[in-house]
Symmetry: C2
Subunit: 251 residues, 2 copies
DNA sequence: GCAATAGTGTCTCTCAGACATTATGGT
DNA sequence: ACCATAATGTCTGAGAGACACTATTGC
């Protein structure tokens, strides 16, 4: 096991050094977090977008995000932004995605943006944040046209977020974070089909999910669906699936 | 296909806004890149470390890294640091790992570090960079003791880098980037055994590698080894392996 | 010959994919 | 009765793991 705690004890030399240290000696940058917030609603994978209420690029759609506070960790800033935009404070999945810092990606100054990926259950309605005049969930299938392109380099961030989400469904139990509990195996299968954009074999999917230990936990309850009924499940404890859920090649 | 190019065209409103914009309005931070440079030498997975030549934490071992220049992309800064520390300008694998920005991780000021992972072939001898007084390749098996703990939060960065490298060998052809060309199947197997720390079944490994299209390309040459001979191969063109190389559970 | 490593052949077990069948309950 | 969906059972092919065996060359 590797040590994972930083030992930041200061030596006497460090103290002397810091007393005479000028923080303006290095090229300054602003640090932001931008969020790719994905959900499944009405059979479509959707991403939360905010219409910018202030320059630059006012009126244009963008990913939600904001500056990192002086005393916040990056994870805390991302969790705060997620709560501000969606009202979600717990239960969602939130992970760091990648960092984007090309010079000129923001015309104001050097801005380094740490992108996060959030997977959330279907929400009642978007809550506009302080900076935002409007919010929407856009199906990712509608992306691609120049009409829909986002501000700054957010198209690229979004593309990486979607690809990360698709990959993570293969080897983690994160698909269940898109669902409210309890859910049926068919609900879970529809999440996979929606995110991957391919139909899955219902019988094989069921066998695979139930034979993977810790993926889902049976509640013992049954739900009357349209025709017939279905058993209900909760999220399992296992984060890493062994073996993985095979992802068919995209059509 | 999603658009991946940022459209940063400025509106007239943007220009007016920027003319009156004060870059000091947001909490400033310094942005650095830190590199986890891994190689395989003498049957051990090793990481390049630099002994800090200046405060803070002078004399302590750390990962190589440095500040991102005002006109550099993050990738360019990482490639520059890699070249400065190792002399390598091409051929190595370099990818963004994760970003670390806890307040207080560097006593000087708010420093956000974008960590990169580099996989390089065995090198003649470490070249000390400008800021460094000393450099070494430390086998990662020797990590873990407090004696070996690195400056700042570099232990944590290193742990993530090692885990990323181990995972990537499963589903990419990156193992070959640890080797000079041409190499034998046994050389490649020893890379896997070294990085994963487990013995692999030689016959099955060979069958797996050769049946995976695009993993390695035969040269047709044969090399006289100590006893017997072995066929020689080059890196294949395929980045993503299908199916993956199964990774046995750690002992 | 013996030792050590490279390479080939084959068997078995697991599991994904495909298909068939039954059960359920609303229309 | 009919239909859509849930759930169960069975067959097959691909592939991983294990083992036996041959080939080559230095000692």
């Amino acid at each position: 096991m590797l040590g994972v705690t930083a030992d930041n004890h200061l030596t006497d030399e460090d103290r002397k050094f810091l007393a005479g240290y000028d923080p303006h000696a290095f090229p300054p940058a602003a640090v932001t977090v931008d969020l790719v917030i994905l959900t499944v609603r009405a059979g479509e994978l959707c991403v939360l977008q905010i219409r910018r209420g202030e320059p630059p690029q006012r009126g244009r759609w963008a990913l939600p995000g904001g500056f990192v506070g002086p005393d916040e960790t990056l994870d805390e800033a991302a969790a705060r932004e997620l709560a501000e935009e969606t009202g979600i404070r717990a239960g969602a999945h939130l992970e760091q995605l990648a960092t984007f810092g090309d010079p000129g990606r923001d015309p104001r100054m050097r801005v380094v943006s740490v992108a996060y990926l959030a997977l959330v259950p279907d929400l009642p309605t978007p809550v506009a944040g302080t900076d935002a005049s409007e919010a929407r969930y856009l199906p990712v299938a509608k992306l691609g046209g120049t009409e829909q392109s986002l501000a700054f380099d957010h198209d690229r961030i979004l593309a990486e977020g979607i690809e990360r989400a698709r990959a993570k469904l293969e080897y983690t139990g994160l698909a269940a974070t898109f669902l409210d509990e309890p859910f049926t195996i068919a609900d879970l299968r529809r999440v996979y089909e929606t995110v991957w954009g391919v139909p899955l074999h219902a019988a094989n999917f069921r066998r695979k999910v139930l034979s993977t230990p810790g993926f889902v936990e049976p509640t013992g309850e049954k739900l009357a669906t349209g025709r017939g009924w279905a058993e209900l499940y909760r999220r399992g404890a296992t984060a890493h699936l062994h073996p993985a859920i095979p992802r068919p090649a995209a059509t």
